[in-house]
Symmetry: C2
Subunit: 249 residues, 2 copies
């Protein structure tokens, strides 16, 4: 994916890299920590890194030594098979963590790509483990985040294993809506950062099927969609679609 914008000049005044003056407390790793504890975290965040659209944050096979918190922007993670097949394993937005896959073998097992110009905080993993041994709240919160990722993955398995195309897309849209809401954006109106093909890869569908499902939802008055711009008109309708349809295998 080529970069389409001219390089944005980096501000001459270096923004202080610190959790204590970041507005993502309630979403990110410092969630639930006391003021003093968050100040300890400040030492932890080694630096920020800006990425242009299309740039890789890390690639499968690269050595792991840090996890990343999305400060702004939007990412996808994917796994590639030798024969070229791609599985998108997730889309990450503000406040979410990237790189947990690398802890296991200390080699990243997937790719992380910015889907728009983005910024991440780099958290060296050994520092995080060190501080987790000191701050119980941080330790517990980190464990919750990893566990939440496992639970999320189970949800995706359910989606891929038992749902039909339209149910999958409905689940996907409702999930995005809910995450945008948690970040203070409209639950009903957003721009998709990913292509139909990337949505399809995540949902185990071909891009044409995704496109047709969008069109169908529009015909049925559930959403209004034009290219990447989506407006959800009938949230209960989308939810209902997931409960009452017959499964497939």
């Amino acid at each position: 994916m080529p970069n389409r914008k001219a390089a944005t000049p980096i501000s001459l005044v270096e923004v202080k890299t610190a959790c204590s003056n970041c507005n993502l407390h309630e979403l990110c790793l410092p969630m639930g920590l006391s003021h003093d504890e968050v100040e300890k975290l400040d030492e932890l965040v080694a630096n920020r890194r800006r990425l242009k659209r299309g740039e890789h944050l890390y690639r499968a096979g690269q050595p792991f030594d840090a996890i990343f918190a999305v400060r702004s922007g939007f990412f996808k993670t994917d796994v590639l098979l030798e024969d070229g097949r791609e599985q998108v394993t997730g889309f990450q937005m503000t406040g979410e963590l990237l790189g947990l896959d690398g802890i296991s073998t200390e080699i990243h097992s997937c790719n992380a790509v910015a889907l728009e110009d983005s910024e991440v905080c780099t958290i060296p993993f050994s520092h995080l483990e060190g501080l987790s041994r000191e701050i119980q709240t941080l330790q517990h919160h980190f464990h919750k985040v990893m566990s939440r990722e496992i639970v999320r993955d189970h949800g995706v398995m359910m989606l891929l294993g038992t749902m039909r195309a339209e149910e999958r897309l409905a689940a996907f849209l409702l999930n995005l809506s809910q995450r945008f809401t948690a970040r203070g954006y409209s639950p009903a109106e957003f721009y998709l950062r990913m292509t139909r093909e990337e949505i399809g890869s995540y949902l185990g569908l071909k891009l044409e099927t995704v496109s047709r499902a969008f069109s169908r939802f529009q015909e049925e008055g559930l959403i209004a969609v034009q290219q990447k711009h989506v407006r959800i008109l009938n949230i209960p309708g989308l939810k209902q679609l997931m409960n009452h349809q017959q499964g497939r295998g």
Copy 2:
């Protein structure tokens, strides 16, 4: 699933519950710990619990307060949708951990069921976190185990999202083979503890499709299968099947 055997009487001599005299060091949580450290772990394992075939270790919705290490036997975990659809999210064997899903919300999000008479060690989670703050090796190993689970889940997503039926079954058999090998069993011959329907649920297929794929593998001389007894005759053949087939979506 009804229990088919008479209740096995519990030995009058209570087996000492202790990691230090357990032969699963190299598979289970104590992996890589020093002798002294493993002795500290001994306090951690609150007790063992025996389960009959078909019995639930925990259910979705129940409060979480401990994780479990499989000491012997075989489990499945699954998630149920309101409309009755089931997704098997994993099969767990000796040395593997159960219950990581519950850390996130302190409520279990899936069911864990014994597929044969089994025994687990109960590890109260707050104790594990406490000891992790003292023993860096334990902390790091636990993080690796959680991360490995995430990576495994990504593999299942790849399987569900991009592979055709026969590729899925081949991947499943090769995975089992490899895990049995790591436990000192034959890589080529084993009994399946789960039904065709449970395999199907895990692989996102109907039981008939699983059965037909088994039959096809047998016709092609890749395996010999009779009901739950499987003998793998051609491991490279199964591997090849996964690389050279065209994907589906």
